[in-house]
């Protein structure tokens, strides 16, 4: 698909006419990346605004002398979404690095200087683009505020209670399912531990999930299938699985 075919779907360009999009198409180019490739680097001159047309892009902070990983991801950008909007805000430096997080990614790169000339030269379109872009940034800002303490960004600790009673009830299968899911997800911000009996043997196997800055959730009568669901829905997506909860809210 050529750049022009994608532009009408881009979140900030949906109010533009075909003629206006053709103008923008004049200073766009496509580029493809493979998993782990860096698309732009924190601190660099923000020369382009990016639109993701395929795959997933992680926006990460860099740490000195450390390789990048998912634990450094602050947010992810998917198809038809924009990233690199620092190119629209002085001092025009990328504040995060962008990495291809899927097997491959395709992006449209919009040249900042020509895009800004276009906005100035066609103020009617420019005004509409900025109104939409402001909505995008406002919503992302709100999301970042809301999720900065939530899964999947936060560190999570999962304790499988593996005293004799827990093991007898099937805690080993639960632990095996959990370690498989952690490994499969590639998440490095999840700590797995074993714990002692909670004194509620009738509800074994128990699993405690604690996400940074949130109360802990104790799950009961777990099995491998429930463990996989809790991992994917609660730890990754932040949705407590109420039907399996024994206790909720402790710190």
């Amino acid at each position: 698909m050529a750049c022009f075919d994608w532009l009408p779907h881009v979140e900030a360009f949906q109010t533009l006419t075909e003629t206006e999009l053709k103008e923008i198409d004049g200073f766009c180019r496509e580029k493809e990346f493979s998993h782990g490739d860096r698309i732009f680097k924190e601190g660099d001159d923000a020369t382009h605004l990016y639109v993701v047309t395929e795959g997933l892009v992680d926006l990460r902070f860099d740490l000195p002398a450390r390789e990048t990983s998912e634990a450094h991801t602050l947010s992810s950008v998917q198809e038809n979404q924009i990233c690199g909007w620092s190119s629209m805000v002085p001092p025009f430096r990328y504040k995060l690095s962008a990495y291809c997080a899927s097997e491959r990614c395709r992006v449209i790169m919009i040249e900042r200087s020509r895009f800004q000339d276009y906005l100035r030269g066609y103020p009617k379109s420019g005004y509409r683009v900025l109104v939409e872009l402001l909505k995008v940034v406002g919503k992302r800002f709100q999301k970042l505020q809301g999720t900065s303490d939530d899964a999947p960004l936060a560190l999570a600790k999962v304790t499988v209670h593996m005293a004799t009673c827990g093991i007898a009830a099937g805690a080993r299968d639960v632990m095996k399912a959990l370690t498989e899911e952690v490994s499969r997800s590639g998440r490095q911000n999840v700590t797995v531990e074993t714990g002692s009996c909670l004194g509620k043997c009738w509800s074994e196997p128990n699993v405690t999930v604690q996400i940074h800055n949130q109360g802990s959730v104790v799950y009961q009568k777990m099995d491998a299938e429930k463990m996989r669901r809790v991992f994917n829905e609660h730890i990754i997506n932040g949705k407590v699985q109420k039907d399996c909860v024994l206790e909720e809210g402790g710190k």
Binding site: S86, M88, P123, L130, V137
Partner: protein, 161 residues
């Protein structure tokens, strides 16, 4: 009526010419408050942009306990020619702080969001200038929040090493 000289001092209008400033001027309403009076409430619908003409305004976070506020300081002060209340153009269109008159008396300009939107559509050059200013202001706040989170998370990662 507010003078063009004054409007020109306001950062978001500083690039406008006299004809454009006159259009802005026509939409300006004056509002006056005494010390301690509330101008708007944290979390309420953001319907107006405000500019200080005389006196001081205190912007104060009054988020319910446990709700994360913006990265803006809990208290900040607005003096002459400072504009605030821009969240009326940014989702979710709610005031992120409460505003109080903090001097004996304060005189403010208020612009209705709908009036400004109508003006921006009529003269998109004005709209473009104001939105560019706003994009910069919101963008900087966003980047500040990213920095804060990255710093916190980076510290945790380094500590766990």
């Amino acid at each position: 009526m507010i003078s063009l000289d004054f409007l020109e001092k306001v950062a978001c209008f500083s690039c406008l010419n006299d004809d454009q400033l006159k259009m802005v001027q026509e939409r300006a309403e004056i509002a006056e408050f005494n010390r301690g009076e509330k101008i708007f409430t944290h979390g309420s619908d953001a319907t107006h942009v405000w500019i200080v003409v005389e006196g001081d305004v205190e912007l104060r976070s009054e988020a319910p306990e446990g709700v994360r506020a913006t990265v803006e300081p809990a208290v900040s002060f607005m003096a002459e020619a400072n504009a605030f209340g821009w969240t009326c153009f940014v989702p979710p269109y709610k005031y992120q702080l409460s505003g109080y008159c903090s001097s004996r008396h304060c005189k403010l300009i208020k612009f209705d969001r709908e009036d400004l939107t109508e003006l921006f559509e009529k003269d998109p050059v004005i709209g473009l200038e104001v939105m560019s200013y706003l994009m910069g202001a919101v963008g900087q706040q966003f980047e500040q929040l990213q920095d804060e989170i990255a710093k916190h998370r980076g510290h945790e990662i380094m500590s766990n090493w």
